[in-house]
Amino acid sequence: SQQGEEDPQALSIQEGENATMNCSYKTSINNLQWYRQNSGRGLVHLILIRSNEREKHSGRLRVTLDTSKKSSSLLITASRAADTASYFCATASSTLTFGKGTMLLVSP
């Protein structure tokens, strides 16, 4: 069964806007990872945040982690049409457990 729950399930924005996706989980974790998946393709790792970290940046990506609330957020700034994809959070304990994902559509 899937542990993470992403919110929203779908998000539609214009190019240049920011996109925020949230993830909630239930059990203790070693780290939390975000992946993206283009239609018909495999998942691509974006960023990993350890359980003792609160915020991490990578390019236009910003991830936060609140272990007390068992939640994480992914912010994509200045979105581009090429950011259109599904985004998944994955919690790492003994294995990776993925959520159901957020479908992001960025319109030109």
């Binding site: 990872q33 018909g40 994955a90 990776l96 457990t97 159901k100």
Partner: protein
């Protein structure tokens, strides 16, 4: 190759047939994972290898599912007596260390059972 390679990309089989899905991980990666992804869902863990040892097979849905990695590189996921509910995308991923670290995914095999 530079990435994880899976074959075939698409597989259509009749209910009751056996299928075999192949995964060629990134060279040197010791960890290998299989996932099942239903339409509109996230990947669900099936099984995990560290080199040739299958360390976790808790996600395999039934004894019709079997995975092997005999020489610690290429892996095969076999499904016997396929059923319609086995229709899904099967993803393989490899990693350089343990299961907590970033994984590199192949593009998957889309399995359709008629």
């Amino acid at each position: 190759g530079a990435g994880v390679s899976q074959s075939p990309r698409y597989k259509v089989a009749k209910r009751g047939q056996d299928v075999a899905l192949r995964c060629d991980p990134i060279s040197g990666h010791v960890s290998l994972f299989w996932y099942q992804q239903a339409l509109g869902q996230g990947p669900e863990f099936l099984t995990y290898f560290q080199n040739e040892a299958q360390l976790d097979k808790s996600g395999l849905p039934s004894d019709r599912f079997f995975a092997e990695r005999p020489e610690g590189s290429v892996s095969t996921l076999k499904i016997q007596r396929t059923q319609q509910e086995d229709s899904a995308v099967y993803l393989c991923a490899s990693g350089s260390s343990n299961s907590n670290q970033p994984q590199h995914f192949g593009d998957g095999t889309r399995l359709s059972i008629l």
